[in-house]
């Protein structure tokens, strides 16, 4: 039974119409984010109190069509049919009203109460659009509210209209039967004619979007597009690392302080070690990523909301297409250089299922920032003159392997069709500061939630292996972990890093890659600086390079594995990924070390 006290509103729109802005400004911090049951698509909803009336707003995924014949995500249609919202609000970018109306007419076939919220009205007027909203409302026989989602203007009018419409009886527009092809679908030709006769007399759009074309003439120019593009990518990374470094240091400082504090308590060694090495160390290393994730997502949100992101997709599509994927995979790849966890989350922008799985898979080959300290330490020791060059080879090597694996996977994964990449290039717009901050905040809190559960469990498990049996020194060769290390070390011998401490470090590296350095230090009883003299006795420069390649290619970290499970929705895929990347890492490192050895390196 329906709760009569709450009005349920389904919020639906084409992409790029400002739906998220409206949702954020309506629901504010009351927004609850979960998943659609059984799906990996985010479900956002929030409750608004307006004039003593509770209004529950459910955000539906942005979609161009809810026709049962379209291959778009079916969630919107399923929700509208099954959960039966009291009112549907469609947000419409008034700049592209004609195209938006196709969805409007599809919504009408559902026999639900519908309100149209026209957005970007001010922008449209500035661009020279002439629209008679009153007449359009009469012709469409639908209530229309003009809003400005970015500033929250006219929000109350919309809420008021929702209550009014909810209390009214449902009235079908008189023209509805003339545009329906069969029970469930509209006739596109009939809609086209209806719009031509009834809408266009009251809607004069400017022939082109001058500002957007001007900006595109630089950002999509044959000669300047790529320089601009690489400049922006550089800017994103530079800004991310510069801004997050002091925050990361701060978090590390706090956790170090806790470690010292707990260490100074007179706790039994076992408990002290669990708290310091296990929990504080593990959670601290994960939390130290949060500034990075926050800032990276902030900048990506700016890219996305400004309209530039869609341009990067088409810029690289031609190259990516040759590897069986589309330009849409590019953004997650770039994000992976920051952290694979949000990057894998960002594959949500890819609607095509097969391509999304490939994008998730190859993301683990993108060198995340946690791998960088390991690269820096090893190249500093073994390739002091060419450190930067070797690190660059690792970064590009990851991308290269990623593309090869995409190509193979695109032949292997048996899901019909390929991503045809028909992509809207939205007009350039100034992003709303409030929105991008909220967005980044959400992403960060999702990450922290995971750090609190799965990662903590994994950390404690590895800590146990490193501490048991009772009485052994933490992480020493006598501990279970040390024994496992000695047991698997022979596997790595043909790869050039057969000493057991590397095997143990790789296991610790599952928790977080930067732990690898600390682990090697602990195992050899030296500080980071001490490794400078210890490591050259254990491996050759070639072995060191092979070790770095292995670190690049095997499992990014357990947080990434958990994210792969969550985003792919499949244990089978997650395990397939887990095993395959280890095999790939082994094969590539093996080839490098054996070939190099054959050449006497």
């Amino acid at each position: 039974m329906k709760n009569n006290n709450v009005i349920t509103v389904g919020l639906i729109a084409n992409p790029n119409t400002g739906k998220t802005s409206l949702l954020n400004s309506l629901a504010g911090l009351n927004l609850h984010v979960g998943n659609w049951s059984g799906k990996t698509v985010e479900k956002k909803q929030g409750v608004v109190n307006f004039q003593d009336q509770k209004i529950k707003i459910v955000d539906l995924p942005g979609t161009y069509s809810i026709s049962p014949y379209s291959n778009e995500e079916k969630i919107a249609r399923d929700f509208l049919l099954a959960e039966n919202p009291d009112v549907i609000v469609q947000i419409i970018d008034v700049n592209s009203l004609e195209r938006n109306l196709f969805l409007t007419f599809e919504l009408l076939t559902l026999n639900k109460k519908l309100i149209l919220a026209f957005n970007f009205n001010k922008e449209a007027k500035k661009k020279g659009l002439i629209v008679d909203v009153k007449k359009l409302g009469e012709k469409l026989e639908l209530p229309i509210v003009e809003i400005e989602a970015n500033t929250g203007e006219n929000e109350n009018n919309l809420l008021k209209k929702i209550i009014d419409i909810h209390n009214d009886n449902l009235s079908q527009p008189s023209y509805l039967n003339s545009i329906i092809k069969d029970k469930e679908d509209i006739s596109h030709t009939a809609v086209f004619n209806f719009v031509k006769q009834n809408i266009l007399p009251f809607y004069k759009s400017p022939e082109k979007d001058v500002r957007t074309e001007q900006i595109d003439s630089w950002l999509l120019n044959k000669y300047t597009a790529l320089p601009f593009f690489f400049f922006f990518v550089y800017l994103i990374f530079k800004t991310t690392f510069v801004l997050s470094a002091p925050l990361t240091d701060g978090i590390n400082y706090i956790f170090d302080y806790f470690s010292v504090l707990v260490g100074s308590l007179a706790l039994p060694a076992f408990w002290s070690s669990l708290l310091v090495d296990g929990i504080i160390g593990g959670v601290g290393s994960v939390l130290s990523f949060t500034p990075l994730i926050f800032i990276l997502f902030l900048l990506i949100a700016i890219l996305e909301d400004s309209g530039y992101l869609a341009r990067t997709v088409i810029m690289l599509d031609r190259i990516f297409h040759k590897f069986g994927i589309s330009g849409q995979t590019f953004l997650p790849m770039i994000l992976g250089f920051g952290c694979n966890v949000p990057a894998i989350m960002a594959t949500r922008t890819i609607q095509h299922k097969k391509e999304r799985l490939i994008a998730i898979f190859i993301n683990s080959f993108m060198s995340c920032s946690a791998r960088l300290p390991v690269y820096v330490l090893f190249t500093g020791i073994f390739f002091p003159k060419n450190a930067t060059f070797v690190i660059m080879i690792l970064y590009f090597g990851g991308v290269f392997i990623g593309l090869i694996v995409s190509f193979i996977l695109s032949k292997l994964i048996k899901i019909d069709g390929e991503n045809a990449l028909i992509l809207e290039l939205p007009p350039y717009r100034f992003p709303s500061i409030k929105n991008i901050f909220k967005h980044a905040w959400w992403q960060m809190s999702m990450f922290i939630k995971k750090a609190g559960t799965l990662i903590l469990g994994a950390v404690v498990f590895i800590w146990l292996l490193a501490s048991l049996p009772f009485g052994v020194e933490y992480g020493s060769s006598e501990s279970y972990l040390g024994q496992i290390g000695q047991f698997i070390a022979p596997i790595f011998k043909p790869l050039g890093f057969g000493h057991w401490s590397f095997a143990v470090a790789l296991i610790f590296g599952l928790v977080a890659k930067e732990i690898i350095i600390g682990t090697l230090g602990t195992l050899h009883g030296v500080t980071e600086e001490g490794l400078l003299s210890v490591l050259p006795d254990l491996i050759t420069p070639l072995g060191a390079f092979s070790f770095l390649v292995f670190i690049l290619l095997y499992i990014p970290c357990l947080a990434a594995v958990a994210t792969i499970k969550k985003e792919s929705g499949s244990w089978k895929f997650t395990i397939f990924h887990f095993i395959t990347v280890i095999v790939i890492a082994w094969l590539v490192s093996f080839t490098i070390f054996q070939t190099g050895s054959a050449f006497g390196l």
């Binding site: 069509s65 379209s70 969805l103 957007t212 290039l425």
Partner: protein, 76 residues
């Protein structure tokens, strides 16, 4: 019969028939690319594919291999 791919930049064509598979046709429809609608290529992307078209007041990128299956009418 000319295809959308043949249409020169800034020349307006009218969509006559979409000969892609059903999935892609449905997606094109939902973007407003239906028979009778005017469409105009406005720009090549930096690597030449996809091209950018203006249709119903929106800029849309379509790969050349898809555009070849969209029949259009235009004055040469």
């Amino acid at each position: 019969m000319a295809s959308l791919h043949d249409l020169p930049i800034n020349k307006i064509g009218i969509i006559n028939k979409i000969n892609t598979n059903d999935n892609i046709r449905e997606r094109l429809h939902s973007f407003g690319l239906i028979d009778g609608v005017a469409i105009k290529p406005i720009k090549n992307s930096p690597l030449g594919c996809p091209r950018i078209y203006r249709c119903l007041n929106t800029n849309i990128a379509i790969r050349n291999k898809t555009a070849k299956f969209i029949e259009i009418l235009y004055e040469k």
